[in-house]
Amino acid sequence: MIRFDSVSKLYSSNPRPALNNVSLEIVKGEFVFLVGASGSGKSSFLRLVLREEKPSKGDIHVLGQQLTTLSSRKVPYFRRNLGVVFQDFRLLPQKTVFDNVAFTLQVIGKSKGFIQEAVPDVLKMVGLAGKTARFPHELSGGEQQRVAIARAIVNKPAILLADEPTGNLDPATSQGIMTLLERINLGGTTVVMATHDAGIVDSMKRRVIELIGGQIVRDERQGGYQTQSMPIQTFGLAGSGDAQ
């Protein structure tokens, strides 16, 4: 589904790599947390999966596409198989909930009939069935994030990328969002979520990939936000990562 082969990403303004020799594989149907301090490379990872950036070194395969050689003309069609959710929602303020979700389908050329059917469905699924005619500023943060999630999944993507989707929300609301993401994951969608929310990661018991300074220092099935084993092992792993 997603495979990184010794991927490094260097930004021209910064001599330190944002990602340093990262190799990993995420398979279909997984729910993966990406954790690490700010600047550890989580967002760079997501941007690389989205093909907003090209890696400086290494190969990336997503959904059977080799992203390093994918022509920029084909990038839009590739992105139709991915859904993305952000911390700041990124809704269009002058469009209603329904139109915000419908907009994604319109711009990729779906028919009116399809939109009329798919949008109410997905809004019902995220729990906003009664609020289709509202504008974003009339909604709470949690509801706005649900609209953003609806928009991301309305086209039934194989992968959902979430960049700190609960970063702006209180814990109770966050829990609701996580339940929703879990439901989406149960439907077969691979979910990759970058987060700082220790409580969520600990309670969900899913695969956790921890990045420090652009390197993977931990990749645990059913992990927590902090490593569950002895803290010293973190340093040991980090050291061995350097040696590779």
Binding site: L50, P76, Y77, F78, R79, N81, F103, Q106, V107, S111
Partner: protein, 305 residues
């Protein structure tokens, strides 16, 4: 459906940027009017050249009793002198250059004069013998007039050898200068128009950057994203071009046909409405293509994936 969406996006962009759009319209309007005027002037020159060069002859004016300049001494050219000139025209020196020549005697000269300005105030004072007799020479290549002038000017009984094109060349020089000035102004204005369109489009893209970001994120194709912006530029420029076309037609209709034709009754070969209608599509295509190119360039730089 998609077509409607693209048009809707373009329309909302136009509405949002209305002041910039109006300035684009005005600048393209004025610049294309200059382009059109330059084309019309060139058409006018070509038309006049075509008309007059066919008729322009080298005239070998012979002396009359009233003239004392040139080789004349206030004496009518004698038949011997005429024969000598005619012999020279037939000689192998000049014959290869000459297509045909004819002799215009006093009677014929008077007839032509009366036909052209018979109704003028001084016509009644003119007598046939006051008008020069002349050989009217049509050359194979009008550019060789100097050969004739050099060859015949020194003949006895010849007052003057004149290339009639010399009169016209002055007029053409003036028209040419005017059309080059118009082209120069047009180029400057077109550069301004192109830059203005690019700026307008970039502004429009900036005001819609949220939508653009989402469009790119969810996989709208580049063509779908660009088209509304290009349409926006093309639409504004097309309005300007149509206005410029209207101005060109109006200039020809009211100034050239309505005024100049009255004011210059002798000028038989002025451009007409047909020429103006020929220029209009050129302006519209030029406006559209320039706008599409500059808008496309502007939005492309904004959209680099």
């Amino acid at each position: 459906m998609r077509f409607g969406l693209v048009m809707g996006e373009a329309a909302s962009g136009l509405r949002r940027n209305i002041s910039m759009v109006i300035s684009v319209i005005l600048v393209t309007f004025i610049s294309l009017t200059f382009v059109g005027a330059a084309i019309l002037l060139q058409l006018q020159i070509v038309q006049m050249k075509g008309y007059w060069y066919d008729r322009a002859q080298v005239a070998v004016f012979l002396c009359t009793a009233a003239e004392s300049n040139g080789n004349c001494s206030a004496q009518e050219a004698t038949p011997e002198q005429k024969a000598a000139v005619e012999a020279q025209l037939k000689s192998p020196d000049l014959a290869p250059y000459i297509e045909k020549y004819e002799f215009e005697d006093h009677a014929l000269a008077y007839k032509n004069f009366m036909a052209f300005s018979g109704d003028s105030a001084y016509a009644s004072f003119v007598k046939p013998e006051m008008l020069n007799e002349s050989f009217r020479v049509n050359l194979k290549d009008p550019d060789n007039a100097d050969v004739l002038i050099e060859n015949l000017s020194s003949f006895a009984g010849v007052q003057e050898v004149k290339d009639q094109r010399k009169y016209l060349d002055q007029i053409f020089d003036i028209l040419n200068a005017a059309s080059y000035t118009a082209i120069g102004l047009a180029v400057l204005m077109l550069i301004a128009a192109v830059l203005l369109i690019a700026t307008t489009i970039r502004l429009s893209a900036f005001s819609r950057r949220r939508e653009l970001g989402i469009m790119r994120l969810v996989g709208a194709s580049n063509r779908f994203i660009q088209t509304p912006f290009i349409l926006e530029g093309v639409f504004a420029a097309l309005i300007g071009s149509v206005l410029a076309g209207g101005a060109i037609v109006a200039i020809v209709q009211f100034f050239v046909r309505g005024y100049l034709v009255e004011a210059l009754p002798g000028a038989t070969s002025l451009i007409g409405l047909g020429d103006a209608l020929l220029v209009v599509p050129v302006l519209i295509v030029l406006g559209g293509v320039l706008a599409a190119a500059s808008a496309g360039f502007a939005i492309n730089r904004y959209l680099k994936v």
